[in-house]
Symmetry: C2
Subunit: 155 residues, 2 copies
């Protein structure tokens, strides 16, 4: 069963590539024996840098199930998730990740996954992407208001 | 100017919250003196765990400019980006991040940003979220095919 799901993820990675939708990456979200949703990389065809296979499959699964919480589901992805997709998988509360290619494989064919992981290991001031903090006190007030809000939906 | 853009990001964080669209987070993408796009957290209202303020602002900016590459733009976010958003910012090639609240502030009001950063610092086998590799050889073939493809769009 696991192999079947991964085969589908790999098939999607090939289809997305041959259809010129984006990079060679595919993913499926599964619950038990059932495929809930599929996705492939559509960055270049949709002009959306966040449309990696995993993010696309997660969004489709959430739409299909009418929830932002995919607890009880697992994701099969043709390549080890990049930092963005790994974050998305945590937020979606998926139970487990199955992957095939590694981030080193992705780097070899020109995708920056590994660079981004390496950046994160550096202290902020040494990263290529600079960060600067502004207006902390003003923003913190909104967090306080959130805490005091009665009917907030937690997630 | 910087303060003005951050004030707008903070304003969006408050508006999203009071309109019950999601958590108290807002962001704007800016090029020079111009706001290209705005976004706020819509996770709970859209049932989309990837609709954080930064991802939403990036998607809107890409749509507005008709590109997946936001080089030359900067992002102002009312809270330090989570791992997913940080990844999205790298992929979108934004030049700089301005933030107000920190991930520790977010953790204090119940958002898991800090937990996800901590998970990443652990070796894979010690993480809460388990990962398993399958069918590497089959997936690697598709990467090979990508390399041999003539008209691929690199990004």
């Amino acid at each position: 069963m696991k192999e079947k799901f991964m085969q589908r993820a790999i098939e999607l990675s090939r289809l997305g590539m041959t259809n010129d939708e984006g990079g060679p990456f595919g993913a499926v979200v599964v619950r038990g024996d059932e495929v809930i949703a599929e996705g492939n990389n559509k960055v270049t065809s949709e002009n959306d840098p966040t449309m990696h296979a995993e993010v696309t499959a997660i969004r489709n699964a959430c739409k299909s199930l009418g929830t932002f919480d995919l607890s009880g589901c697992e994701i099969y992805t043709s390549c080890e998730p990049c930092l963005m997709c790994l974050g998305a998988i945590y937020w979606a509360r998926l139970d487990k990740i199955y992957y095939a290619n590694t981030k080193e494989d992705a780097a070899e064919i020109g995708f920056d996954d590994k660079f981004i992981y390496e950046e994160l290991d550096l202290p902020k001031e040494k990263r290529k992407l600079k960060m600067e903090q502004l207006l902390h006190t003003e923003a913190k007030k909104v967090f306080k208001e959130w805490e005091e809000k009665e009917e907030r939906i937690k997630y």
